[in-house]
C-alpha cells in the first residue's frame, strides 16, 4: 500500500516535469537554451486559473494555460531569434517578467497578492489518494505519453530530423534549404506550449494560482533535460528520479527521523550530483545557445 501511494505521488509530482522537460528538449534541440521553462510554466499556471475561473470549464483553462505558455515563449523567440538577444539574459528576463506579470494580474483580476480564488480541476486530487485517483485525471495520461510521443517525433519523422539538424549544425540545415529560423520559432513556441501545460497541470491540481507557485520546477525540468542527455526516453527517467526524490522527501518529513532541512535538500542535492557526476561528458546540441 505504501508502495502504491509512493508511486502515485511520484507520478503526480513528475507530471509538471514531464511536460516542462519535453518543452526543454524541443527548445534545446533547436538550439535555444531552455532557461525560461520556469517562466513559461508560471504564465501557463496563471492563465489556466484565469480561464477556468471565468469559464468554469477546466478544459478551457487548460487551453488558456497552453496559450499563456506559448505567448511567453513567443517573446523569447522574437528576442533571441529575430533580435539575436543573448539567450541567457533573455531567458532570465522572461522568468522575471513572468513573476512580475502574474503578480500584477493576480492583483488586477483577483485583488490578491498571494493567491487566486478556488477554480475547478480535473479530479484525481491529492485528497482522494491512491493510484486509482491519480489516473482519474486525464491530464496525467497526457503527461505520461508526452515524452514517448516526442521521442517518436524526434527520431521517426522528417520534422524531428530537421529539428535535430538545426540544433546541431544550423548552417548545414540552411545550406539544404531547411528554414532554420522557422524551425527555431516552432521549437521555442512548442516548448512554451508544453511548459504551459505543465503549469496548467499544477494549477488545476491545486485548484488555484499562488504567487510563484512553480517554485523552481522549470529549473528542475531543465536539469532533467540535461541529465537525460536531451533524449526523451532518458529525460522521462530523469523526471521520475527527481520526482521520486521529492516524494521521498515528503514521506521522510512526516517521519521526523532527520532534521527536515536535510530532507528538503534531497531533490536538489540529487540534482547536483546527477549533473556533475553522471552527466559529466554528455554533449549538448552543438549549436545550443549560439546564433551564427
Amino acid at each position: 500500500m505504501i508502495g502504491i501511494i509512493f508511486l502515485a505521488q511520484t507520478i503526480r509530482i513528475a507530471m509538471p516535469y514531464f511536460f516542462a522537460a519535453a518543452g526543454g528538449v524541443v527548445s534545446e534541440r533547436v538550439g535555444i537554451i531552455g532557461l525560461s521553462l520556469e517562466g513559461f510554466m508560471l504564465t501557463g499556471a496563471f492563465c489556466t486559473v484565469l480561464g477556468s475561473y471565468y469559464s468554469g470549464d477546466p478544459w478551457i483553462g487548460l487551453l488558456c494555460g497552453i496559450a499563456g505558455g506559448m505567448a511567453a515563449a513567443l517573446i523569447l523567440a522574437v528576442a533571441t531569434i529575430r533580435f539575436r538577444a543573448d539567450q541567457v539574459v533573455a531567458g532570465i528576463a522572461i522568468n522575471l517578467l513572468a513573476i512580475g506579470a502574474t503578480r500584477f494580474f493576480l492583483r488586477l483580476f483577483f485583488n490578491s497578492s498571494s493567491n487566486s480564488p478556488r477554480v475547478v480541476g480535473f479530479g484525481g486530487e491529492q485528497s482522494a489518494g491512491g493510484l486509482f485517483a491519480t489516473f482519474g485525471n486525464p491530464i496525467v495520461w497526457l503527461g505520461l505519453i508526452t515524452l514517448p510521443v516526442l521521442g517518436l517525433v524526434l527520431y521517426r519523422t522528417p520534422f524531428g530530423l530537421r529539428l535535430r539538424a538545426v540544433g546541431e549544425h544550423p548552417q548545414a540545415a540552411r545550406s539544404l534549404g531547411v528554414s532554420v529560423n522557422r524551425l527555431r520559432y516552432i521549437g521555442v513556441i512548442l516548448s512554451g506550449a508544453l511548459a504551459g501545460l505543465g503549469g496548467a497541470y499544477l494549477a488545476s491540481d491545486q485548484h488555484q494560482f499562488t504567487d510563484g507557485m512553480t517554485a523552481g520546477r522549470g529549473f528542475i525540468a531543465l536539469a532533467a533535460v540535461i541529465f537525460g542527455r536531451w533524449d526523451p526516453k532518458r529525460v522521462a527517467l530523469a523526471c521520475l528520479l527527481f520526482a521520486a526524490a521529492e516524494t521521498l522527501q515528503i514521506q521522510l518529513q512526516g517521519l521526523q527521523l532527520v532534521p527536515s532541512q536535510f530532507v528538503e535538500m534531497i531533490p536538489y542535492v540529487l540534482t547536483i550530483i546527477a549533473l556533475v557526476g553522471v552527466v559529466g561528458r554528455a554533449s549538448p546540441p552543438a549549436a545550443l545557445g549560439k546564433m551564427e
Partner: protein
C-alpha cells in the same frame, strides 16, 4: 595577362568546342559585385562555364572565389551584376531554388550534422516519407544506389562523426547529387584529403563531367588545376583577371595572373616542381615526369654528424583529455638536428596537434623530451621558450595572437618578461622592438598601434613569425605556418624557414599541405592515428610513396636508431632549396 581573357572562346574538352551561345552556358555570371560592410569581396567578377566542363576557379586567399560561388549557390545576394544558370536569369535566388535548379555546393568546411547518420545527412530537407514518418530504409537504399552509380561509396547507416574526412566529403557530394545537382561547386575540396583520396575525388569528378555534369572547382593549388581542369578562371582582388584553357597555359602563367607579378619562389610551395599527387589514371601525368628537384640521393650516403640533436622525443604519448584510454599521440620518437627541417605530413587530425602541443608545453605527455640535450619535460611553456624553443601555433587566431591587442603587444606575447623595467612593461623597448620587427618581416600596414584583428591573415601570420623567429632560438615548431595565407606571404615565410635552417636552426614543420612539406623538408615523417608511421629522406619521399602511409595502408613505425641513420642532411651543408 594572357590573351584568352573574358571571352568565352571555347567550350572546353569536346572536339566541337566552339564559341558557345550565351544560352548554352551552364553558368554565366556578369559584373558581380558584393560588399561585406566596407569590404568589397567581389568587384565586377565574371564567370562563364559551358555545360559539361570541369572549370577551375583559382586565386589567392581573399580573391573572392568563395564569395562568387556562394552567390551562385544562393547563399548571398549580389549587390550588382547578374547570374544566369542554363540561360535563365536567377540573380539573387535562394539556396532552395538553387538546389531545385540543380546547383549544388560542397563547402570548404563540411556542412554535415555529425550526430546524424550518412543517410540522414544526405536526405535532410527532402526526406522520403512513409505516411507521416521518415522512411529510413528507403533513404539508406537510395544513398546506396547513388553511391554505386557515382563511385562515392559510404555506408549509409554510419554516424557522420565516425567518418574519415575523405568519407565525409563523399557524403557532401552525395548530398548534392541526391538533390539532382548537375552543376557541382567544390570549395577547396582537397585541403583535407590524402593523395589517394584526391585521386578518388578526381575520378568521381571526371565521371560526373563525362556524364554531362558541370563542375566548378575552387582552389589555389596549381598542380590540381593542371591535373584536372579543362578551363581556368583566375580571380584577383575580387575581379576576374584571366580566363584560359588549361592546355594552353602553365602553372607559372597562372601564378602570375593570381598574384599580379612574377613569383618564382612560390612555385616550390604551390607544387609546380613537385610530382602531382593528383595525376589521374588517364594519362594526364605531365607533371610527374618533372620528377624530384635535384634528387638528393647522395645525401643518403652523407655521414651522420656527431652534433647532438636539437630536439629529441622518445616514446612521447598524449592521451585524450576526456578518455585516458585513447592516445592522441602514441609513443612517438624522433630527433631533429641543427640545420635540418623535419616535415611531418599526414591527414589532419592524426595526432599532429597533440605532437605540437606536447613539445610546446601545452599538453601533458609521457615520455622523454629533450631540447639541445636537456630534459625539458618538466618545464612550462615559458621556460621551454627561454630554453630556445620557438613555436608558430597552428591556429594563429586562437593560440598565436590576441586579436584585440595591438601589433606591438602581440610581438612580445609570451616574451613580455624580457621587456620590463622594474615591475612595469618598458614601453620604449616594446615600441623599438615593434619598429624593428615590422620592417624586418615586412608587416603591413607598418603601424604597431593597430589591433592585430585589423591585419590580413598573411600579415597576422607574419606577426607570429616575427615574434618567434626574430629572436634567439634553436628549435622552431612550425605548425601549419602558411595556412590561409596569401601566396606572397607564403613565399616570404618559406624563405624565412629556409634561412633559419641554413643558419643552423632545427625546425619541425607540421603541415597538412603535402606540397609545402615536400618543398621545405630534409626528411619527411608521416603521422597516422597518433603514430609516426614512417620517416623518409626527402629524396625518396614522393606523394606516391607517402600516400599509403597517410591512409594507414602502409605502416612501419621506425625506431630512433633507424631515424638517426636515415638522417639525410648534414649540418652546414650549402643548400639548393632556396632557388631563386
Amino acid at each position: 595577362m594572357s590573351g584568352a581573357e573574358r571571352s568565352p572562346t571555347s567550350a572546353g574538352s569536346g572536339p566541337t568546342a566552339d564559341t558557345p551561345l550565351a544560352d548554352e552556358l551552364a553558368i554565366r555570371m556578369r559584373g558581380i559585385t558584393k560588399f561585406f560592410g566596407a569590404v568589397r569581396a567581389n568587384n565586377g567578377a565574371e564567370l562563364e562555364v559551358p555545360a559539361g566542363q570541369l572549370h577551375a576557379l583559382v586565386g589567392e586567399n581573399g580573391a573572392g572565389k568563395s564569395t562568387l560561388m556562394r552567390i551562385l549557390s544562393g547563399m548571398y545576394e549580389p549587390d550588382a551584376g547578374s547570374v544566369r544558370v542554363d540561360g535563365r536569369d536567377v540573380t539573387g535566388w535562394s539556396t532552395a531554388s538553387a538546389i531545385a535548379a540543380g546547383v549544388g555546393m560542397v563547402h570548404q568546411h563540411f556542412m554535415l550534422v555529425p550526430t546524424l547518420t550518412v543517410a540522414e545527412n544526405v536526405v535532410l530537407g527532402r526526406e522520403p516519407r512513409r505516411g507521416p514518418s521518415f522512411d529510413r530504409a528507403r533513404a539508406e537504399r537510395e544513398v546506396n544506389e547513388l553511391g554505386a552509380s557515382s563511385g562515392l561509396v559510404v555506408e549509409p547507416g554510419r554516424r557522420v562523426a565516425d567518418l574519415s574526412v575523405g568519407e565525409a566529403q563523399r557524403v557532401e557530394i552525395l548530398k548534392t547529387l541526391y538533390r539532382g545537382a548537375r552543376i557541382l561547386i567544390l570549395d577547396e575540396p582537397t585541403a583535407v584529403l590524402s593523395p589517394p583520396e584526391v585521386e578518388e575525388l578526381w575520378t568521381v569528378l571526371r565521371r560526373l563531367r563525362d556524364k554531362g555534369g558541370t563542375v566548378v572547382l575552387i582552389t589555389h593549388k596549381l598542380d590540381e588545376v593542371m591535373a584536372i581542369s579543362d578551363f581556368i578562371t583566375v580571380m584577383r582582388s575580387g575581379a576576374t583577371v584571366s580566363r584560359i584553357r588549361t592546355s594552353d597555359t602553365t602553372p607559372r602563367e597562372i601564378a602570375r595572373a593570381m598574384v599580379g607579378r612574377e613569383v618564382a619562389l612560390a612555385m616550390d610551395a604551390i607544387g609546380g616542381m613537385i610530382p602531382s599527387p593528383a595525376s589521374g589514371g588517364d594519362g594526364s601525368t605531365t607533371t610527374t615526369t618533372q620528377a624530384q628537384p635535384s634528387l638528393r640521393g647522395t645525401d643518403l650516403l652523407a655521414p651522420v654528424p656527431a652534433a647532438p640533436p636539437a630536439l629529441e622525443l622518445r616514446a612521447v604519448s598524449v592521451v585524450a583529455p576526456d578518455d585516458a584510454r585513447r592516445r592522441l599521440l602514441d609513443r612517438v620518437s624522433f630527433t631533429v638536428a641543427p640545420g635540418e627541417i623535419l616535415g611531418i605530413a599526414g591527414v589532419e587530425g592524426n595526432g599532429q596537434t597533440a605532437l605540437v602541443e606536447a613539445i610546446a608545453g601545452l599538453a601533458q605527455f609521457t615520455g622523454e623530451l629533450r631540447l639541445n640535450g636537456r630534459d625539458v619535460a618538466a618545464l612550462g611553456v615559458r621556460a621551454r621558450s627561454d630554453a630556445g624553443l620557438s613555436h608558430i601555433p597552428e591556429d594563429r587566431q586562437r593560440r598565436g595572437l590576441i586579436l584585440d591587442f595591438n601589433v606591438a603587444d602581440n610581438l612580445i606575447l609570451g616574451r613580455q618578461h624580457h621587456f620590463t623595467s622594474g615591475p612595469s612593461l618598458d614601453r620604449g623597448r616594446i615600441a623599438a622592438n615593434a619598429r624593428q620587427q615590422i620592417s624586418a618581416f615586412d608587416i603591413r600596414p607598418p603601424d604597431a598601434t593597430l589591433p592585430a584583428r585589423a591585419l590580413s591573415g598573411g600579415n597576422q601570420q607574419k606577426i607570429i613569425v616575427a615574434r618567434e623567429m626574430g629572436r634567439d632560438f634553436s628549435v622552431l615548431l612550425a605548425a601549419q605556418p602558411t595556412r590561409g595565407v596569401d601566396v606572397g606571404a607564403i613565399e616570404f615565410i618559406h624563405q624565412e624557414l629556409r634561412d633559419a635552417r641554413d643558419a643552423g636552426k632545427a625546425i619541425l614543420l607540421v603541415s597538412a599541405d603535402l606540397a609545402e612539406i615536400l618543398a621545405l623538408s630534409d626528411r619527411v615523417g608521416v603521422m597516422y592515428r597518433g603514430r609516426l608511421v614512417t620517416v623518409l629522406p626527402r629524396a625518396i619521399a614522393t606523394p606516391e610513396v607517402l600516400g599509403p602511409y597517410m591512409t594507414g595502408a602502409a605502416d612501419n613505425p621506425v625506431d630512433e636508431l633507424s631515424i638517426a641513420n636515415e638522417r639525410a642532411t648534414p649540418v652546414g651543408r650549402p643548400r639548393d632549396g632556396g632557388r631563386a
